[in-house]
Assembly symmetry: C2
Homo-oligomer: 369 residues x 2
DNA sequence: TTGTATGCGTTATCAC
DNA sequence: GTGATAACGCATACAA
């Protein structure tokens, strides 16, 4: 209470109460007891509400007592009282099958931790029925909010509404009512184009695919940027269905050779591929045709599928979808609304850039021709 | 709390009190009230302890009341009381970077859900310091137990001990004190061998790698099973470091051709590859050498790296590491000890089989030779 | 400025 | 069989 009091041992006989027997964490009452104050004071100090309420000396005493006792508020008791669990539910259509979803998840858990939250995850495995169920289970568990993450960018028809703050990651809802964070696909296409343009390429080919949402946007940004420099793709191949290494291989051959198997006269000096697998096929096709990459032909991939892109020879320059960052920002978006329950729900749509990952497969075009 | 104890709203209009206004979930007291019994009775019935205590009629009445009110026990309140959060903490060295970790996670969340638990995850991103921190944070959050999962099979030196039940997935501790679940690597090697043997192959090559733990075991099982049939690998290549498509390509060429580039006389009719990337390289090498797969040469991969194996031409037969099952069983192991706190901790080591995934790249050897 | 009393919703211990 | 009553640990309106 006052400096003349007994800051440390109250009685003469060292009862050693400060060393709590392990397994019995200190409670707020213990702290109050030890600091010679009430639980209220403890609560105020530890929640930063001590400003005009608690004397500085008292505050210090409480802080010290808490430290000595290694006090941590019991999260469950706190939750019961505040009706906030500091838990986020993340529902995804497939963590399991995508190498990217993990990045998103990693970003989300990281950021959540920074903001004092845990992320509980549930994988619907592409079974929409389970998503609804998962949402309800999370709601029943009183999570503070929900994140829906999809593996591929897509528009989701309906998100189960269980009365919880919800944000979308790598997807968006038709009615644009929910905050969501997605890749800026058009910009990514533009980045790819600029990369090739800046290296001096003018004869540019593109192998695209029937990607539902992302594809057209990406291609639009690509061709538009090209057009702004007065360049038109010299060749375009559209892959349907399987964007495999094999498909990339054949598409590239078709793009580079004539029917008789000879190299075309007028052929691209650079090819932009819809994804890294296709780019891998392109690499192989080039090798088969005696074209050196990147000396004779530059190849730019998409996705930064690490297991693949970094291990090819030559290693693949590509664009990395911002999965990790989507995870982080989805959490931010969500916690912002969780922590401001009264604020109006702004249907934010954040579009994140896909950074270029420079490796070996892109260089300036060959001087001649 | 309930004003006047009227089951319906006080006013004459819109009685419908049983349809709780959303946002105000029914409590156990509400149920007791509505069924005209005490909370004790409700608790007994809902926790299955009604056997000799509650009259069947009463039991039914309570059940009905609960159903009508759509009562669900408040998990936070329950946790506070039982000091069990029904939460599992999963720490992994890299969800993010591995396509497999997702499977493990999926299996874990699935099984946890079946047993009434949620899985909160944290990705240390290969930073061991963070693992300790994560463990402490989970402990502070009062999770019921911890799972450590690693991306590649390995022995872990020390697992942070935060006084929580812990099990290991896809790794094991040096002292064998912790329950853990890992792939049966030797058996997997045997399975691969038997697969090739059963198809009639006797000239068998293997491209292995310097995989720390799994490699030797797997190879041991493979060669042992071969030996039991009196077969010795006709060629063995060991890859160091990068197990890339490219490495597989060159290793396969080396295995199939002589120094002058001609096909060897005595060459394998089947090759077992350390992983699917290497197998992809083998596929390409075979194609380059004019060998048809699987007609002239069978290729068996390992890992079932889906993005790759299923999309190659021909698609790759391979062995799938039991990641999903490891996740499931890790949860089972963990919850078994969580639910039997008094039982002695048996340092179980479960070894799970890697199923063969039949696709196109393996067939009988060519008749001649 | 500090202390007191109460509620969050459950489970568990007893007397009745 | 049943029904009060006490924790669990924290936060806070309100009284001192």
């Amino acid at each position: 209470m006052n400096p003349g009091g007994h800051p440390t041992s109250g009685g003469g006989r060292t009862p050693r109460r400060d060393e709590r027997s392990p397994g019995k964490p200190a409670t707020a009452l213990d702290v109050a007891h030890r600091a010679g104050v009430s639980r209220t004071a403890v609560s105020f100090v530890l929640n930063g509400k001590s400003d005009g309420n608690i004397a500085e000396a008292t505050r210090q005493r409480i802080l010290e007592a808490a430290r000595e006792l290694d006090y941590r508020p019991h999260p469950v008791a706190r939750s019961l009282r505040t009706s906030r669990t500091q838990l986020i539910g993340l529902i995804t259509d497939s963590i399991a099958s995508s190498p990217f979803a993990g990045q998103l998840l990693g970003g989300a858990t990281d950021r959540a931790r920074e903001r004092g939250h845990l992320v509980a995850v549930f994988d619907s495995g592409e079974r929409p029925a389970l998503e609804e169920q998962a949402a309800e289970e999370f709601a029943g568990r009183r999570v503070d909010g929900l994140i829906y993450a999809s593996m591929g960018l897509r528009e989701v028809a309906s998100v189960p509404d269980v009365g919880l703050p919800t944000v979308l990651a790598n997807c968006f809802d038709a009615r644009g009512e929910l905050p969501s964070v997605i890749p800026a696909e058009e910009e990514a296409g533009a980045t790819a184009a600029r990369c090739l343009l800046d290296m001096g390429h003018r004869q540019i080919g593109v192998i695209t695919g029937d990607l539902v949402v992302a594809g057209p946007r990406r291609l639009a940004g690509f061709t538009k940027t090209l057009a702004e420099s007065g360049v038109k793709p010299v060749a375009v191949q559209e892959l349907r269905g399987g964007w495999t290494i094999d498909a990339g291989f054949h598409a590239t051959r078709a793009m580079l050779t004539r029917a008789d198997g000879q190299l075309r006269q007028r052929r691209p000096t650079a090819i932009f591929c819809v994804n890294d697998r296709v780019a891998a096929g392109a690499l192989l096709a080039a090798a088969g045709l005696g074209l050196a990459v990147p000396a004779d032909l530059s190849i730019l991939g998409f996705d930064d599928q690490e297991e693949l892109a970094a291990n090819l020879v030559p290693s693949l320059s590509t664009l990395a979808l911002p999965h990790r960052e989507m995870g982080r920002q989805a959490v931010d978006l969500l916690l912002d609304v969780v922590e401001q329950p009264d604020a109006p729900v702004t249907p934010t749509l954040r579009e994140l850039p896909s950074p270029l990952v420079w490796r070996e497969s892109v260089a300036a075009p060959p001087p001649t021709r």
